[in-house]
Symmetry: C2
């Protein structure tokens, strides 16, 4: 039985300053939630780690949860979006390039499936090499 | 580059009452954090959904985050533990049987890896599908 879908998103080549920018990350969460019509339960919780560390954010959703962790020292940001309601794929690659300057975004889509296990081999499970930035 | 390890844990056959029992779930979080020496950032956030729904809980960690979602109507609980510090495997199977009455526990261990992708076979039941997309 599938109880939810989880997107594990790992972005590299990001701009370090963006990964420390709490307002930019809040705006990114807002955009994800708005564009996927996700409903927050309470307020997101954010924590900024001491330099050179990054930011952790998480928000409970009626659909499950959204989390991010940033590693400005490596130019990396990771996201988890867990939805127990069917949602379309989000344009992680375009959006993370725009918001964080990512040059490579890996999206893995995993069904939270208590029977047979599979990682969905459809067009939402992919590696995207973004062009135009090295 | 591996920036963290994530355990995706899906338990079935759980006792429905346990999956609605906020105190039991809090105690389970405490046990996970204590036994793995994880450090909370702030307090866990919990939300109980209207019946027949279950409970969502999440806590930020200095190591990243721990989350759970329960589905008492189906006897299912799912957990995410994301650690950017190397941690040993936890005895999810034994502990979830004990705490929630689970009769089947699937553990997937996924490296948050911005290069090559790997999924470690924990319960030896896994499929990785990955393909490039242009």
């Amino acid at each position: 039985m599938i109880v939810g879908t989880e997107w594990l998103v790992d972005a590299t080549g990001c701009d370090g300053d963006s990964l420390r920018d709490l307002e930019a990350l809040r705006a990114l969460f807002d955009r994800i939630m708005t564009e996927l019509a996700l409903i927050a339960v309470g307020q997101p919780v954010w924590h900024r780690f001491p330099s050179p560390g990054g930011v952790t954010g998480i928000v409970l959703l009626t659909e499950s949860h959204l989390a991010c962790h940033t590693y400005p020292e490596y130019g990396i940001a990771t996201f988890n979006l867990y939805c127990c309601r069917t949602r379309p794929d989000w344009a992680w690659d375009d959006r993370l390039r725009e918001a964080l300057g990512a040059n490579r975004v890996i999206v893995r889509v995993i069904e939270r499936d208590t029977g047979d296990l599979h990682i969905t081999p459809d067009n939402s499970n992919y590696i995207t090499e973004l062009r135009g930035k090295q």
